[in-house]
């Protein structure tokens, strides 16, 4: 039983991580209509900036600030210099340009930091494990990730649903032309939303640093999962991104954790392992296909 609980926590933690990335991606796509393949690069920028700052100063707080600032600034500059020119263009042009950005970011990071992955230490205060229940010991750092993710979700919910900026964002997601016709400076809104998305990606990146490998191309690994989340949740919807991320995190983790074990009841060990691994790899894509069949606009579409 504790194993199931632990795996659910793992799924939650993974889902929260995906949410931080998916929130920015879905906002950018929903509001500006831009497919930003370079979103993963912002995640990488956040991770590298934090790793660099942590190595130079040894302070986790400074690393946190550096990671967030670097990702947000990179995002804003990216919007001003490249993406602004792409809003009116075809999706294919956007894909091409943002793919080029991926290559540019990866190469720049290679030039600046080299090809060797960086080491990032866990902040001492969050190192170690706590006993949540008898027999259930869980790393503090992962609990912290869950807490931060849920707080960000709450903050975004309040921002989007309770503030004037949020109202404009919602309006921009559903009736872009109308918002512009009403005299809102949509360009500023776009830049702000892009910066926010970049900030969240950077936050995900810097939190991932101590548990994953900080290396060139780390963003692309997680980007595909993020797109799956956005599609399942519904493009442009923060609520969709949140629930989509949790569903993907939980389904993926549970399949990986339990599919081989359950299959072992009906078939021999090695076959069950192979089939289970296959199922776990397909799981979320299968889920995406089913969601697309039943609800083509995702579970919580922004454009109703």
């Amino acid at each position: 039983m504790t194993l199931v609980l632990e795996q659910l926590l793992n799924g939650l933690q993974f889902g929260v991580m995906l949410f931080l990335l998916a929130a920015g991606l879905t906002l950018i796509f929903g509001i500006m209509g831009v497919i930003n393949l370079a979103h993963g690069s912002l995640y990488m920028v956040g991770a590298y900036a934090a790793a660099f700052a942590a190595a130079q100063t040894g302070s986790f707080l400074l690393a946190l600030l550096a990671g967030l600032a670097a990702a947000a600034v990179t995002g804003i500059v990216m919007e001003l210099v490249v993406l602004r020119r792409l809003y009116a263009r075809d999706h294919l042009d956007q894909v091409l340009a943002t793919f080029a950005l991926i290559l540019i970011f990866n190469q720049s990071v290679t030039i600046l930091f080299g090809r060797q992955p960086l080491f990032v230490a866990i902040p001492p205060a969050l190192n170690g494990s706590v006993q949540l229940l008898p027999g259930l010991v869980y790393p503090v750092y992962r609990l912290a990730i869950i807490a931060v993710g849920l707080l960000v979700a709450l903050g975004l919910y309040l921002l989007i649903n309770r503030t004037r900026v949020g109202m404009l964002v919602r309006a921009g997601a559903t009736h872009r032309e109308m918002v512009r016709a009403l005299g809102v400076d949509i360009r500023l809104l776009y830049t702000a939303v892009f910066g926010l998305g970049a900030l969240l990606a950077g936050l995900a990146g810097l939190m991932a640093g101590p548990i994953l490998a900080v290396q060139v191309g780390m963003g692309e690994q997680i980007l595909i999962m993020t797109f799956v989340v956005v599609v399942i949740g519904g493009v442009g919807s923060i609520r969709g991104a949140f629930f989509g991320a949790l569903i993907v995190g939980l389904v993926d983790t549970s399949l990986r954790a339990f599919a081989p074990g359950l299959l072992r009841h009906v078939m021999t060990g090695s076959e069950a392992d192979a089939l289970g691994a296959g199922l776990a790899s397909m799981g979320i894509y299968l889920l995406m296909a089913i969601v697309l069949l039943v609800r083509p606009k995702g579970l919580f579409p922004a454009h109703v």
């Binding site: 194993l3 632990e6 795996q7 793992n10 799924g11 933690q13 993974f14 991580m17 990866n106 190469q107 290679t110 080299g114 090809r115 060797q116 992955p117 960086l118 080491f119 230490a121 866990i122 494990s129 010991v137 790393p139 750092y141 992962r142 991932a208 101590p210 548990i211 994953l212 490998a213 900080v214 290396q215 060139v216 191309g217 780390m218 690994q221 997680i222 595909i224 983790t253 990986r256 954790a257 081989p260 060990g269 090695s270 392992d273 192979a274 289970g276 691994a277 296959g278 776990a280 790899s281």
Partner: protein, 389 residues
């Protein structure tokens, strides 16, 4: 003035064109390797080590001037194949090396060896090229893939572990890894898990390991995957509780640096280590440290050995692109390997010794790999018997 200048230029051009006829044309060596993406540091070490060998001879290998052409395959089999085609057809290259990953090798090597060029592998050596499909133009300097994991299985047995939990990514090399480990591990398998190649979070696997409570964990996760795995192993509180035996690709010098103290106490099996006490290795380590000032990975050592092997063949033929003579000279393995002894088996893959290493605190407090003993002697591979050369 202008006129005289152009005459001068013309003369220089003429001299440049005539030059190759007088001096020896450098032998071109093609290197296809992975320089971009998370695996890029491996290709970098392979390239740098090969260059080092050339530089140490002053632009020559075996006394023959050589020119190294390096291209990045970006870990894409299709791209590797294209580069090979260009090098073979446009550049007329007859000696190639460099491929890091088995899937790129799988797509690229057959084209190279079938078109009458030599391929000297500094790393990838998938099982299918070691058995029935072995080729007289294909030489492997590193190891046959399985040996890496066989040595780990043997070492886990030597250490007296009875119950192993084994994990690897769900792709060909991952499956080969688990098969290789099981081949020489005498105990029981408590659990066998295939992870995903794009997986970054291993928390579910950690929980499974804890639940299975094995004597030992064996895992094969090269590069960044391995860094994430080991750090999460420590964070899950498993490090120090359940010992781990690894093959070297899961913990090379570069990943060791990124893993940090989470690697202390791990048992690794390898065919080479920085502290090997032989003249060739000392020469290599000194030159490497002077040139690059970082700890070389075992990939670097393999590439350096590949360069020395090619040098021995070029020396024998005097730089002539005489394929049968080159092959014959290469097969003798007449070079001083940084591993100490080195020879080829019947399928032109190495027959060599395997050693155990342990991660310990070095002089400056950072973890280093220390050689602790020998695991296997004169170890070849099981596929050699299917090879008819």
């Amino acid at each position: 003035m202008q006129h005289r200048k152009s005459v001068c230029l013309g003369l220089m051009l003429a001299a440049a064109v005539a030059w190759p006829a007088l001096a020896q044309q450098p032998v071109k060596i093609g290197m296809i390797t992975t320089l971009s993406g998370p695996g890029g540091y491996i290709g970098q070490d392979i390239r740098d080590a090969f260059k080092l060998a050339i530089d140490m001879e002053g632009g020559k290998l075996g006394g023959v001037p050589v020119e190294l052409m390096v291209e990045d395959d970006a870990l894409k089999p299709g791209q590797g194949k294209q580069i090979a085609e260009k090098m073979l057809k446009t550049d007329g290259i007859k000696i190639m090396t460099g491929i890091v990953f088995s899937n790129v090798a799988g797509a690229t090597v057959p084209d190279i060896v079938d078109s009458g060029a030599l391929y000297v592998s500094p790393n990838a050596a998938p099982s299918n090229f070691a058995g029935k499909e072995c080729n007289e133009n294909y030489f492997v300097i590193a190891w046959q893939n399985d040996s890496l994991h066989e040595s780990a299985g043997q070492y886990a047995t030597n250490l007296g572990y009875k119950k192993a939990f084994i994990l690897a990514p769900n792709y060909q090399a991952g499956k080969d890894a688990l098969t290789g480990f099981k081949r020489l591990f005498k105990g029981e398998i408590a659990g066998e898990v295939y992870t995903r190649l794009d997986q970054t979070d291993f928390a579910p696997e950690m929980a499974q390991i804890r639940a299975a409570n094995p004597d030992v964990v064996f895992q094969f996760h090269p590069g960044g995957l391995g860094i994430a795995f080991l750090r999460q192993y420590q964070q899950a509180g498993l490090l120090g509780k359940i010992p781990m035996v690894l093959a070297e690709p899961s913990l090379d010098a570069t990943t060791l640096k990124a893993v940090g103290e989470a690697a202390l106490g791990l048992e690794v099996t390898s065919h080479w280590n920085t502290d090997f006490d032989n003249a060739a290795n000392k020469k290599f380590m000194e030159a490497w440290t002077k040139a690059y000032n970082r700890v070389p990975t075992f990939y670097a050592s393999q590439s350096y050995d590949s360069a020395l092997a090619i040098a021995s063949a070029l020396k024998a033929t005097g730089g002539k692109a005489d394929l049968p003579a080159l092959r014959k000279a290469l097969a003798k393995a007449d070079f001083q390997s940084v591993r100490g002894t080195f020879k080829f088996g019947p399928n032109q893959h190495p027959v060599q010794d395997w050693y155990s290493l342990k991660v310990e605190k070095g002089a400056d407090g950072t973890p280093v790999l220390k050689t602790t003993g020998k695991v296997l002697s004169n170890h070849g591979d099981v596929y050699a018997k299917d090879c008819k050369l």
